[in-house]
């Protein structure tokens, strides 16, 4: 019994630490600086490095970055939460490695990719809720408010942003724990065939970008890129 409770305590500890890390990284998206550390290609290897899964983080980051390469935050619209997807993917992978036994790496990657897809939509909804909640901050103050209360209100926004990131990350950690007994039932995947779909979506995203007016006009550069890619492939493979 004592052993089991110790295991549960350490599991809760890991979940809290991972969710805190995720929430801090996701501050970058909406609250502090927009440095780009929450982009999947940065946050996945970064969180992976902190928890000893750098290479899988690099792989997940590269693949997930491609999936949402065509979705841009233009004109004030709320884009899909690719940053949340990256954080959820790597944190659930790290947790799964620690709590799930007798499951192959490919099966874990399958689940993390599925979670990333879901997290991108749920994260987008959470962002909209957070911005609606921030309306209350705006209503609370007015032109008669003191300077210090305006500054304090601005910093209060950090809390709603933190809660958004924390809830998103912990939600998928809990979901993973719920479904973890069933992960063994997943069929065996081949690593390469598992990556075909995200890469194909990446190509679709690129096709979508190329269709945009600005890139469409530069078809010559795209053709040049295609030729360079072929030459590079031949050089490397010969």
């Amino acid at each position: 019994m004592r052993g089991a409770s110790a295991v549960n305590l350490s599991m809760v500890g890991i979940i809290v630490i991972l969710s805190l890390t995720g929430a801090i990284i996701l501050w970058d998206k909406l609250a502090i600086g927009e440095f780009g550390i929450s982009q999947p290609i940065v946050c996945c290897p970064l969180i992976g490095l902190l928890f000893g899964e750098f290479y899988i983080g690099l792989l997940l980051g590269g693949v997930l970055q491609l999936v949402w390469v065509g979705s841009l935050p233009l004109g004030g619209k709320e884009p899909l939460d690719n940053q949340g997807a990256g954080v959820v993917a790597i944190t659930t992978y790290i947790l799964a490695k620690k709590i799930v036994v007798d499951v192959h790496q490919e099966q874990l990657i399958f689940i993390t990719l599925l979670f990333a897809g879901l997290a991108s939509i749920i994260g987008q909804i959470f962002s909209q809720i957070m911005k609606k909640a921030n309306n209350q901050l705006y209503i609370r103050i007015n032109q008669k408010s003191s300077s210090s209360s305006i500054v304090a209100t601005n910093f209060a926004g950090l809390l709603s942003s933190f809660l958004r990131g924390f809830t998103l990350t912990i939600l998928f950690q809990v979901l993973l724990i719920i479904i973890s007994p069933f992960l063994k039932l997943l069929p065996q995947f081949n690593f390469t065939e598992l990556l075909i779909l995200p890469l194909a979506i990446g190509i679709a995203g690129i096709a979508h970008l190329v269709r945009q007016r600005q890139i469409k006009r530069r078809i010559l550069f795209s053709v040049l890129g295609i030729l360079t890619g072929i030459v590079l492939w031949v050089i490397v493979k010969l």
Partner: protein, 258 residues
């Protein structure tokens, strides 16, 4: 404007979008930045009237612009407080919103992110074993470092020059942001071309163990890509990527189980 004021202003600008809301957008953020800097920062000993600034921003509610370009607008207010009574000052938010979106979101960020993915792919081509630490694993830094030098540099430069030269700094910044956009689009189109050809080649290479499987793999892969691209283009929803990823993985799972 001393170094300490620039650092203080830069840190305050980092929290510009902390309280972003549908009603007020960045109003609280920019006001709090100006109010933090207006404490001491006055030009020619002319005291900045905080109440006047608050009143004016409240009249013109829902301030919103590209976050990296706000520095120059804060600088302009600190240079000459009366600028906020000029309609063209508030028009700047729309100009910087449009040009900032074009420069940062449409050109710079996708270019550097795609470049990082491309370098990672080339690294994978050269050495498929990721566990062999090589220079290509540093690809994320290829995005992170140049992006921040440019984006955060524009924040600081805008603040400093806006404070020093007033509205002419905004005109200069607009010109400087507009110039490289065309070049960035050219580079992005080139990288996209490389990615379009390298991604399928890598998958084909790994799925075809023997030469007799090669054509099967190519046809299979091209079919998947065609199906995904057509579904993506037909969906006409912003969530197409996510729906495709989820549904594709589930279909893949069903096929595997059957």
């Amino acid at each position: 404007m001393g170094y300490s004021e620039i650092i203080k202003g830069f840190i305050a600008l980092l929290f510009l979008s902390s309280s972003w809301s549908y009603l007020g957008r960045q109003t609280i953020g920019i006001l709090s930045t100006i109010l933090i800097l207006a404490k001491k920062d006055t030009k020619n000993d002319v005291k900045v009237d905080k109440n006047l600034i608050k009143e004016r921003f409240w009249q013109k509610n829902a301030f919103n612009t590209n976050p990296y370009c706000t520095g120059v607008m804060v600088g302009i207010v600190l240079n000459k407080q009366n600028e906020i009574f000029n309609e063209s000052f508030f028009a700047l938010q729309h100009i910087f919103g449009a040009i900032g979106d074009d420069f940062f979101w449409r050109a710079l960020r996708p270019t550097l992110l795609s470049l990082a993915v491309l370098i990672l792919l080339i690294g994978y081509l050269v050495s498929p074993n990721f566990h062999l630490l090589n220079i290509f694993t540093l690809a994320p830094l290829l995005f992170l470092i140049p992006y921040n030098i440019i984006a955060q540099g524009i924040r600081v430069r805008g603040l400093y020059e806006g404070r020093k030269y007033g509205r002419s700094a905004a005109v200069r910044l607009i010109q400087d942001l507009r110039k490289p956009i065309t070049k960035l689009y050219n580079i992005l189109a080139f990288i996209m071309g490389m990615l379009i050809v390298l991604l399928p080649l890598i998958v084909i290479h790994h799925t075809s163990g023997h030469s007799e499987n090669l054509w099967k793999s190519i046809i299979f892969l091209l079919l998947i890509i065609l199906l995904v691209v057509l579904s993506y283009l037909a969906m006409r929803t912003e969530r197409a990527n996510s729906y495709l990823l989820i549904s594709g993985l589930l279909i893949f799972l069903i096929i595997k189980v059957l």
